[in-house]
Structure formats: structure tokens, C-alpha cells
């Protein structure tokens, strides 16, 4: 236990941050190697790019143009150094810089992911709190059942149902595209549905534990209002695992939204990845893998920092 001389708030927060950043840098380096290795392990790139009708000559030209004839370490260093400076190479399919392709699509993916996460949190946290406060009652079980159904429902199916009802029958929402903001609602709901069950269960479990704790008994003994007891004192302590998992879920939403982007014809990063994998557009695949990994690392870092803000004990450690 820290005694009288515990480090001041700002100092310990900085050490905490520094440690996390060093760790993140190491993970980045690993990802760089893996992203590179993955594309090289899947066979001779030049051959698959030349296609089934490519001649040996075509393959040789491609190999030369893309620098695939150089030793692997040289290729890696070249790519890594360029990637670090923002140059991710050129897409052979689009014949354009990869960074531009991604920059065009990233906002769509981000909007989609954030919409999904917001809907998920706004649903899961209140339901989890109510469920915990009414633990063991019919209401609690009802909410648990909803979560179970949500988990069992495939997203493409939910997507289609939503499109049919709200898009075609009721015509409340556009069925595709992102010209207006409401184009994000239906895909956002579909994304949220897959995240809600885990977030809800975590909120419920955390709140049940917090509500049974000694410090909540103290808060009640102090005559605090129910709102303060539940939202200020219990939720703050229950929130940490929720924050961590929400960050991971957002990562999933950003990287794994291929199905949803396809169903709703959104041209985001997921769709781009799908396309380039099919067409062997390896500079794009490499770049997308790298980008998603960076986003993951960034999100985990953000979650750790939020948890450090939530729990003073983490700052000291």
C-alpha cells in the first residue's frame, strides 16, 4: 500500500502513459512484421497478380515493377520505412496511392463504428443497470433473454429484416448509401446488436458486485440519493471492464464490418479490404491490416487511459 508519500497525480499519470506508449510501440513493430509476412506467405505475389493468363514475361515485369525481386528483408525495410512516413505504396487495382484510397473510406467506417458503439452503449448500460438493480426478478430475466436473442441473431439477417421493414415497407430510412446521416442508423443498429449482449452482461455483473459492496453500504448509510448511489458511486466502479470491452468492440466494428458494409452498400474500409483480398491487391491488404492493428492499439491505449482516470489505484501502479 502507498503511504503518505504517494506520488502526486500528474506525475504518476505521466509514467503510466509513458509505459503504455512504449508497450504500444513494441506491438506496432510486431504488427508491421506480421502484416508483411502474411502477404508474402500466401504464395508468389507476382504470379497471382499476373493472373491465370499471365506469361512468364508478365510475371517477371510485375516482379521487377513492384520490387518483388529484391531480398525479403530489403522489401520489408523499404515498406516499413515508407509506411512510417505515410507512404503505403500504390494499389495495382485502382492504380492510385493506397493512402488516398483509405483516407477516402475511413470516415465512412469511423462514422459507422461510432454510431454502432453509441447505440450499443446507450442500450446496454441502462439495461445492465436496471437488470442489476432488479437482480433475480422477472424484469432482469426478460432483459437477459433479449440479450440472448440478440447474440443468436446473425447480422446479415437482422440487416435484411431492417432493410425490408424500415427501408422498403415503412420507408423511414434510406436502404443504402451515406449521402445523409440517417443512412448510418440501420447499419449502426445492426453493428450495435452484436456488441450489446457482452456489454450488457458486463454492466450487470459489475453493477451487482458494486451494489453489494461495503462502500455502497456506506453511501446508503450516508443517506445519499439513489441517483448518486447508482450512477456516481456504483457505476464508476463497474465501468472499467465495460470501457475495456467497448474499446475492443469498436475495433471489431471498424475492422469487421464487411458484411454490413456489403448489405448496406457502404464503401468503407471493410469493403475495400474485401475487394483487395479477392483481387490480390497486396499493397492495400497490407495497409488495411496495418491500419486496423494501429486502430486496435490506439483503442486499447485509450481504454487503459480512461480506466486510469476512473480508478486512482491504477495510476499509482
Amino acid at each position: 500500500m502507498r503511504g503518505i508519500g504517494a506520488a502526486p497525480y500528474a506525475g504518476s499519470m505521466l509514467t503510466f502513459l509513458f509505459r503504455r506508449l512504449v508497450l504500444a510501440a513494441l506491438v506496432c513493430l510486431t504488427v508491421l512484421v506480421v502484416a508483411f509476412a502474411l502477404t508474402r506467405l500466401s504464395g508468389d505475389l507476382a504470379v497471382s497478380m499476373a493472373g491465370p493468363n499471365g506469361t512468364a514475361e508478365d510475371v517477371a515485369i510485375i516482379r521487377k515493377n513492384y520490387g518483388l525481386d529484391r531480398p525479403l528483408p530489403v522489401q520489408f525495410l523499404d515498406w516499413a520505412v515508407n509506411a512510417a512516413s505515410g507512404d503505403l505504396g500504390r494499389s495495382y487495382l485502382y492504380r492510385a496511392p493506397v493512402s488516398g484510397l483509405i483516407a477516402e473510406r475511413l470516415p465512412i467506417t469511423f462514422c459507422l463504428g461510432l454510431t454502432g458503439l453509441t447505440i450499443a452503449l446507450l442500450t446496454a448500460i441502462p439495461l445492465g443497470i436496471v437488470s442489476a438493480m432488479k437482480e433475480g426478478t422477472l424484469l432482469d430475466r426478460g432483459i437477459g433473454l433479449i440479450a440472448l436473442i440478440g447474440q443468436a441473431m446473425p447480422s446479415f439477417w437482422l440487416g435484411l429484416v431492417l432493410v425490408i421493414w424500415f427501408g422498403l415497407k415503412l420507408q423511414w430510412l434510406p436502404i443504402s448509401g451515406t449521402e445523409t446521416w440517417d443512412g448510418y442508423i440501420m447499419p449502426g443498429i445492426v453493428l450495435a446488436f452484436s456488441a450489446i449482449p457482452a456489454l450488457l452482461r458486463l454492466t450487470r455483473a459489475g453493477m451487482i458486485e458494486a451494489l453489494a459492496s461495503d462502500y455502497i453500504r456506506t453511501a446508503r448509510a450516508n443517506g445519499l440519493s439513489v441517483a448518486s448511489i447508482v450512477l456516481k458511486h456504483a457505476l464508476r466502479n463497474a465501468a472499467m471492464p465495460v470501457v475495456s470491452v467497448a474499446a475492443v468492440q469498436l475495433g471489431f466494428m471498424l475492422g469487421g464490418s464487411i458484411v454490413i458494409e456489403t448489405v448496406f452498400a457502404l464503401h468503407g474500409v471493410g469493403y475495400l479490404a474485401w475487394e483487395s483480398i479477392n483481387k490480390n491487391d497486396f499493397p492495400v491488404v497490407q495497409a488495411v491490416v496495418l491500419l486496423l492493428a494501429m486502430i486496435y492499439i490506439g483503442l486499447t491505449l485509450a481504454a487503459d487511459m480512461m480506466n486510469a482516470v476512473l480508478d486512482p489505484r491504477l495510476r499509482a501502479g
Binding site: 503511504g3 504517494a6 462502500y215 453500504r217 448509510a221 450516508n222 443517506g223 440519493s225 458511486h233 486512482p312
Partner: protein, 319 residues
């Protein structure tokens, strides 16, 4: 004079079938200290929590009378009870390590009570908190207010809990082993503080303790609990001078002698252990450990009056 806290025939049961409190009656008057003693697991904390309506979920509570001044505690809603708690009746818990919220500074937690009941500003709350930290013997209160519970030792946390309970000048203080983590000097300071508040503000104290030295020093009245019942109660003078129940006598026989018995030796070093009591348990729960036990002890035993305000639950005392 009307008591501040009056409890008659309190019963508390847990879902697992334990009858933790079986018909406890006690009263605490204005400016008075009522000590609740008895060995571990006899239901002291559960009695205190029942009075504050802070029992864990699933516990059942019933009482013929449970009154705080003119408020019928058995009828108040949770909302109405919360207006009393922290403001007019306060409690210090037995678990100082876990009873403060790890996520907030102690200043923030102490201030919140004051703001809630006194409609004061945050600055006024901080001033009040600093004043009380000082009164429980914490130096540099300004620095402490900005610290989190994990930065405080057990003793400091316990003193913080005491200070927090006193924020709104309560009329009743229920203190469950409030000085276990403190050294003798600090303990003496806390006890003096309580006595001052009793004299100046008429604070009524229900004090739960294992330490018969504290009982001798603080108590006007004493209730001895055993297996969920008060087996003997009376003025401190009666209980120390003329104990009637074999369990009380056993406890007194284990009074620590300064310099001879180690401090913190558990009270009730009587051979045997407390039986688990369910709802259907009948007779004297102490009979298996009692050298005077007879066949009568298995039957129902009504309370006997030894003298005015001195009652016992033993067949040896003529009815």
C-alpha cells in the same frame, strides 16, 4: 425520558435459514453510551445494520418496536430512511478497509454527505471535513482530503469513517468496533471525542466492542449478546458488579489484566463454540457450554428481572 433508539423483539433471518438475531430488545438514551458485547458471530453487527435498515439483500427483518425518536423505523420507506441516515443517525462500520469508495477522494466523499443533508456548498463541506479530520487526530487534513482511500493506512481510513459519520452532527451514532485499527493513544482520543460530543450535543452512542476495557470506560448500559439474543442487560455497574448469567460471568472472567493478557485477545475465551441457530432453535443457546446447565435449560426461557433495568435470560435466576 424518551429514548433516542428503541428496539423491541428484533428478529433477522438470512435466506440460508440462519436466525442471526432472535428477539433482541435495547434502548439508547440521549447522551448515553450503550455497549453491545459478545463473542464473534453472535449478531451484534446484524443488529446494528437492522437498525439502520442496511441489511444485505435477502435478509428479513421484523420487530415489535423499532423507533428513532418519534420515527417508526419499521414503517419508513427507503427514501424517508435515507433522510435520517447520515443526518440524524450515523454508522461506523466494522470494515474500515473496504467501506470507502476507492474511486473518490475522501474529501469528496465526506463533503457529499454534508452537501446532501445541509444543502451547503462544496467549500463549506470541505471546511467541515477538515475540521472533523482534525478532531479525530489526523494531521495535515488539507492534504488528506485530496487523497484516495488506497493512499491511507487502515487506521487513517477508520478515523476517516468516524469523521464522516460525524459530519452532520447526528443524534445517534452506531459504532461497530470503531477503534480496532487504532493504537492506544489514538483510541483514547476518539473515545474522548465521543464523550465530548455526548456532553455537548447529547449524542447517543450504540457501541459494539470486544474490548471490555472500553466498555468499563464508556458504557452507562451494557447488553450482552449470545447466539442472536441479549442474554443479559443492565447498567454497567449492575453488570460488572453483579452479573447473573453464566455467559456474562465467563466474559468478565476473561477481562484482560494490564501487562498480563495480550491486547486484542478475543473476548469470550470460554471453552466450546456458539451453536448455529435456525428459526426453530429453542432453549438456552449457551447450555452446552454452561457448567450449571439443567434439564430446564432446553425449554423456553422468559426474561427474568434481577433488579430495575437489569434483566437476564437464565433459569438460575428465580422468575
Amino acid at each position: 425520558m424518551k429514548p433516542v433508539l428503541e428496539i423491541e423483539n428484533l428478529r433477522v433471518g438470512f435466506p440460508d435459514g440462519t436466525a442471526a438475531v432472535r428477539g433482541v430488545s435495547l434502548r439508547v438514551g440521549r447522551g448515553e453510551t450503550h455497549c453491545l458485547v459478545g463473542e464473534s458471530g453472535c449478531g451484534k453487527s446484524v443488529t446494528a445494520l437492522a437498525a439502520m435498515n442496511l441489511l444485505p439483500r435477502g435478509a428479513t427483518r421484523s420487530a415489535d418496536v423499532m423507533r428513532f425518536h418519534d420515527e417508526d423505523l419499521t414503517r419508513l420507506s427507503e427514501r424517508q430512511t435515507s433522510r435520517l441516515r447520515g443526518a440524524r443517525m450515523a454508522m461506523i462500520f466494522q470494515e474500515p478497509m473496504t467501506s470507502l469508495n476507492p474511486a473518490y477522494t475522501i474529501g469528496s466523499q465526506m463533503t457529499e454527505v454534508f452537501q446532501r443533508h445541509r444543502h451547503a456548498t462544496r467549500a463549506q463541506g470541505m471546511d467541515r471535513a477538515a475540521e472533523l479530520l482534525e478532531r479525530v487526530g489526523i494531521t495535515a487534513p488539507g492534504m488528506r482530503l485530496a487523497q484516495y482511500p488506497h493512499q491511507l493506512s487502515g487506521g487513517l481510513r477508520q478515523r476517516t469513517m468516524i469523521a464522516m459519520a460525524l459530519m452532520c452532527d447526528p443524534e445517534l451514532l452506531i459504532a461497530d468496533e470503531p477503534t480496532t485499527a487504532l493504537d492506544v493513544t489514538v483510541q483514547a482520543q476518539i473515545l474522548r471525542l465521543l464523550q465530548t460530543l455526548q456532553r455537548e450535543l447529547g449524542l447517543a452512542v450504540l457501541l459494539i466492542t470486544h474490548d471490555l476495557g472500553i466498555v468499563a470506560r464508556m458504557a452507562q448500559r451494557v447488553s450482552v449478546m449470545y447466539a442472536g439474543q441479549v442474554v443479559e442487560s443492565g447498567s454497567a455497574a449492575d453488570l460488572f458488579g453483579a452479573p447473573t448469567h453464566p455467559y456474562t460471568r465467563g466474559l468478565l472472567a476473561c477481562i484482560p489484566i494490564p501487562g498480563k493478557t495480550p491486547r486484542d485477545q478475543p473476548l469470550g475465551s470460554i471453552p466450546g463454540s456458539v451453536p448455529k441457530t435456525g428459526a426453530e432453535f429453542a432453549g438456552c443457546a449457551f447450555r452446552d457450554r454452561c457448567t450449571y446447565a439443567t434439564a430446564d435449560c432446553a425449554g423456553t426461557i422468559p426474561h427474568r428481572t434481577v433488579a430495575t433495568d437489569h434483566r437476564t435470560l437464565c433459569t438460575m435466576v428465580p422468575a
